[in-house]
Symmetry: D2
Subunit: 494 residues, 4 copies
């Protein structure tokens, strides 16, 4: 992985140095197992282990040998037995095959890499909880299809992010189970002359259970779900990152990722505060999917194994862990420094003209005896009516300029327009002044009838009172506390 | 494909009826080729062709036979020779193999399906040109990273969409070349006892050139690029659709996809005008990539062929064409009914406070002798300054509410705030009133120096005049006409 | 899905009829919950449920309405409330949003579809166990890299297939957990005015737990792993299918998929027994990956939801289930009718000249005091020596013919060659007649020394006896019983 | 990319050093363009270019700066202008945006990388032609579905490989066209105050044509097809590699990849000659598809651009080129050292008992007046008959051993069986001794009738003569010369 996106701990795990060390640990575990089964005597086993522990593995020698014999594990054996007297050679890598040595090491590397990722996950969880608590009562428009929907607190949105994240993180944690197994069952997994007790003892020593039914290698069906879980996790980060990008759209951003004081947004345009971090997370998600696909295609192999998966795994696993760690790191940075603009959130709510309670309003009309269709259409029409542009605006809207000079004139015109009066459906509906709209198939007569109904309805003071209560955050967000309770997020501030 | 997303013409192309008809055409072409090579006499060839033309293929019989013998082409032969006297059997499907019959038919179906797609492409092109001309002078903020960038006309954005689209459509058209070839070279593609002249003549009759070097089948490397071109095309549609979704975000939408008068946006919230069509296009793009991947994985086959690709192709090709056609249909509908709100575009420009000319402004300062870094930082600071919130806003921004009641109070407060004064950097910079900003690492002293420089600079009237010209659409968009010219989009309105 | 690959039960699950039925069940559950919370009285709730149960849903009416209003759930409500008196309209779909109705139905459909798949899995498991027991002592060459490796029983290979399969099937079963949750929490998942008790009661009624933190929809991160598990399962089937294809290669097939008596292998070549079923499984695996990718890309959505995932899910889920069921069905057919040729397996072993014990042989030499490298190279050389062609063969090997006439002469020549004497390393090594080989970098002197060592070693009768024991199945496969025991596969025949 | 799979030339192309150098070339081209348009005077432009050429770019300084300001192109400008007097700053990177500098450099890097790949392609083509000529008359079984099909020469198979390869390589070459364009059109691609003449001149200087309609960046739809073409090429290499793996299956390999003298096949089993190189190519194909997918997903970006594609491209492009180059390198090694065993090919043909001419034989019967179905079934039955095992074999086949001792006894038995008599359908059919077969649904009566027909037919000497001619390579492969001619592969040996 490019330095720019690489995680140094992941890098260490996948170095040759570390891999060869882990290979040696397998070999030692086998020798210790042989000792317990009295297949080697104490002195010989001690001699091997001590000698090799004291003779650091020469990675360069090993690489050179590998190039010569085209077999990395054999090259490792050759490197190691150099330090042993000939009569002890027979005990080193005895009866086992390359992948007996490599599989426990490989599973160990995946475990170690997941252990790098999980704390980064934990940090993100903490950040999300902190935000959820801090913005417990900071209200904003929810959006479905990019359109203003009901109100919510920003804290509650953080809870949804958290819920998504938790599903992904727990799925990743669950894959650790798949890494609890390994194999030491010989060249085709049927033990050959290898005593199955060796496998049991040596794997126990290495903290694995034997996987029964392996071939020369562990079945790759065990590992593909880990790659998919990592990729899915990054997709969830991308979902959160995407929401922040949408929130940071200029005009009136309601959030922004942190921007450092010396940062430059653009070489041409000095005003830019670009969402480069959250955008990068989308890149990471695309990469993660690509790596997971490479690994998923590698479930299949010929018979007792072929080596198609080897090159894929050498490349895709470390790189997949790098992009996962990078995406987590970036999101931790973004969430911990997230800039939130409650004033802009409120402004947005104000300008949304009460439509956030359109569902409430419609249901209210139904409780007052209106049929489903009528209630729906009345509120729909009211919503469309309150967004109708002023006549000044309409002129501009409907006249397409035919030169940039004209365009400039319109720009000046709009700059000078008085601030529009913003009417909420909260006030508009009780006035019973619905108008026919271009956007809706309701006749003049329909509208007349609707108004008649409304007029009658809102002649009653109590009804009006109930109506206005519908539009308050206290009413609209009354049930968010349930979310906090059910997710066990308790706040000092409540 | 589900009825909901299916194209009826594509459906017809991939019916069994049509396929069997095309198979018969291959067989006839072979017989006509044999006639020309005097391998069959005129009467026999006429008898076969006439008899079979007069005996419609019984698809149900064929299906039943296929289930029995597990070989669809053999079942077809069995169905056909029923109508022929025994002595003519030898001439039907003579010396050729199933895929000799099927390959020309398959290539024909792909050609026909592309011919369904291309006119839909053509319509989209027309729509884009119409929009580009109509909105030649309708100005809007361009956006990079979701942030306001320089000004552009909406017409010019349509030209960028068009340019993207054209690359994709031309690439698709270019793949037609790959469909100019087919094969009739026997069971392993080495002709066996089949005279190569038969291939030449029969394929010419079917309007194909022979592909030399086929195995039992045409190499799938010829077809994968077609699937990729279709998928790439849908990705481009998704790019355009995405831009419309971003433009339709409520608050102040600058565009909207058409919304029918009886349409309902949401079962709960009657006010919604959801971007369901453009969102669907993203779904289509995901599907198209999936189908293209299935087909790309099918380039590889064993030796002179195996049949792994067959099931994939039966499913993925028609479905890929359906989603492509559906995405095009939806986009044609969206573009032809696109609602554009120039007033909101202008309002957005106005509120962007002149930052659209920040690059111009920076370059201007450089022409006045400022160093690159100073020019950049002055304009950056000015941009940040003009967006600083009023003190009323700041109070709201910095006080996180601790109850929904409090949140409601803030909402009321913001609703009652007087409209903010909107200052453009156009006016702000010449005043030389830069202030220290939290967002930028510029000391009080730096800022003081910047102001001194600005004061001196703008003491000169001519400079001021030049400065103001920078901010006009006439100046900023002066070069868009080049785009129109280079793309050959000529407007009556210019 | 094409009829050819479609599963009729899966088809039923994903019909409109069934979906609308499930939607109605959600609505009823909500009404019953309201009754328990006294939000509707007993008579009204009974009236609604009884009336609607007695009024079958008119799917055609619904479709027409959907085309008009572009909202399938609203169209459903419209269809349903037709049968209710106006005053009861308010209770139907009260306070909830489309996806509150749809999500439990969707999860139910996935559950039902998995329940179609699991019994097919169970059948495959049974077939594999049956084969493992039947062929407990039928010996064959294992193969790594397509090369003969050690011996194994065919039963033991079936156990490896079973182990792979079990990992995949258990992972699929585990995803059922993700389907234990659903949501009924309103338009943005924050309940709005919807009492959270409704969700709890209604979902319990539908046998779901509430997922806390949903938006308008359930997070798609819950469902992607199911698609991946299905796709992984099909990849495992493809692995098994691939092994059967490799075993069925003509010349000397050791297995064949069943071939029906009326089946035709090829339209041109009547002798063919093509592996069309196992090849189809590879096609299914490619498709499954494609569908899983479509679904994996759909984890991300905007904010409280957009509808990009909807079209993907309508298509990809049923089709993914179809290809999974089809792959299972095909594999069940193949495994239950699998033709096994133990004679060809034995012939192959015989011709492999004892190399299946090369590992044993090498280790044996090490126990006799040889260094690792020497032991390795001696056995390697012996293996290469016993495969050296006879001089007659060598002539043919080294003379590339320059005409087909010459090629024919060579063919006749090889047809008349006496059967070669097949020498096993079992007999060859003790004879100490190693020869220099082109394939190995061992000098004449090295070889001389090797022979000297061997001569000395095998002068001892006891050593020779031990040596020959190495090559017996009793010795070589002694540990396979461990596999059977550990996997709990008990045989009557042992 | 891991050192193990990396290509050093590709590495150089994608270094920071080289990239920054190319960025500088863009900047110089802009300055030279300004000079021609008299926007800078000769001395100033010369001063900038000379000074900067003489001041090597300090990559470490640049990296440090990038980390500070989070903008790599701005960091580059900062590094460069350090060497320029303040008054010249205004001319450096004037009016253009980061991606104006970067896009020509990026396209240049892709061009350079393709130029590394193409000669490797050329070498493969040469190897394939050499093999096709050398083995012009070396006959082998073609295989469809892994089953023996008709005869072919190995040379002709090489031609099929070549044809596949050529389609892929030509498609790659054609994508060079897409790299003939670049952009220099400012921050949103509408030129802003940038004179379009600058773009024209500067790009011409850099050997590009302007792409009209770009946004801030070139549309990624131009580049995705290049990634797909690379990935498709590797898939074709994987197809060829797969055929070699199949041919190298032990027992009786007909080809092998080169095996070096010091190579070790397995740590456990010294006899192994594993197909590790060709297997690696399958790994490369999986990776290539993964990288191509990452790039294909990056066609979409927001509006005038966002930066999601940047991280993907930094990683996926070089790695995709590395795996392509590695796959080509491996295949060149394999093809140039390919071991071919014509004797084993002939042995295989001999043992295939004449079925390679089953199509000929069937057609021959049809010319003798038999109906299609009868001719098909007779030859099918004959093919099945000649492969029926001897009674000794049948005993072994049908008795599943119940212990390994028994298995060993069967093994000894088969080792001692006399070589089977191998009967070709060439001899069998004229004898008219067809037998009822378990595998075919032909009654005793049918078979009796078939034999009667055959007896009559082959009573005629001339017919018998014609029949035997069918089975000769001269007859069967008579049309291969057409392939050589049409592909323009001319041999000295013909």
């Amino acid at each position: 992985m490019l330095e720019r996106y690489a995680n140094s701990e992941i890098n260490k795990i996948f170095t040759d140095e570390h891999k060869l060390q882990l290979w040696q640990e397998t070999e030692f575990a086998v020798i210790r197992a042989m000792l317990r089964l009295r297949m080697i005597d104490r002195d010989d086993s001690a001699a091997i282990i001590t000698t090799l522990q004291e003779s650091p593995i020469d990675v360069e020698w090993w690489k050179k040998r590998d190039k010569e014999i085209h077999h990395d594990l054999n090259a490792f054996i050759d490197e190691r037995v150099r330090y042993l007297p000939t009569e002890l050679h027979q005990y080193f890598h005895k009866n086992i095959t390359s992948y007996d040595t490599e599989e426990p090491a490989f599973a160990r590397m995946l475990l170690e890499a997941i252990e790098v990722v999980l704390p980064l996950c934990g940090m993100l969880k903490e950040e999300l909880i902190t935000l959820a608590l801090k913005y417990r009562f900071t209200i904003m428009n929810a959006r479905t299809h990019g359109q203003e929907a009901e109100l919510q607190s920003f804290g509650a949105r953080c809870l949804s992010w958290l819920a998504d994240y938790e599903v992904a993180a727990q799925a990743l944690t669950r894959t650790l189970e798949n890494l609890g197994y390994s194999k030491l069952s010989g060249a085709i997994g049927k033990y050959g002359s290898l005593n199955p007790e060796i496998e049991k003892l040596a794997l126990a020593d290495l903290k694995f259970k034997p996987f029964t039914g392996a071939t020369q290698i562990m079945p790759r069906i065990l590992y593909a779900p880990i790659a998919q879980a990592l990729s899915n996790l990054v997709s969830v980060l991308d979902k959160i990152a995407g929401d922040i990008r949408l929130a940071a759209r200029s005009g009136r951003p309601i959030m922004q990722e942190p921007f450092q004081k010396k940062q430059k947004g653009s070489s041409a345009m000095p005003h830019k505060k670009n969402t480069i971090r959250t955008e990068q997370v989308e890149g990471m998600a695309r990469m993660a999917r690509g790596y997971a696909n490479m690994i998923s295609e590698s479930i299949k192999t010929w018979e007792e194994r072929a080596i198609e998966q080897s090159s894929v795994e050498r490349v895709a696993w470390p790189d997949l862990f790098h992009v996962t760690a990078q995406a987590l790191k970036v999101m931790n940075l973004v969430m911990s420094g997230l800039k939130v603009y409650p004033d802009n959130m409120l402004k947005e709510i104000h300008e949304s003209r009460g439509v956030y309670a359109s569902s409430e309003a419609k249901e209210f009309l139904k409780t007052q005896g209106l049929a489903h269709e009528a209630a729906y259409r009345i509120i729909q029409l009211a919503c469309f009516n309150v967004f109708e542009p002023s006549s000044d605006r309409l002129v501009i809207r409907e006249n397409v300029p035919s030169s940039f000079g004209e365009a400039n004139a319109y720009l000046k015109m709009i700059s000078r327009l008085k601030a529009e009066k913003i009417t909420s459906i909260e006030d508009f509906v009780p006035r019973a002044e619905l108008r026919v709209s271009d956007s809706l198939d309701a006749s003049w007569e329909d509208v007349h009838n609707y108004n008649a109904v409304l007029k009658k309805l809102f002649s009653d003071k109590e009804t009006v009172g109930k109506w206005h209560r519908l539009f308050t955050p206290e009413h609209l967000l009354q049930h968010e506390k349930t979310l906090y309770e059910q997710m066990g997020i308790t706040s000092q501030t409540t």
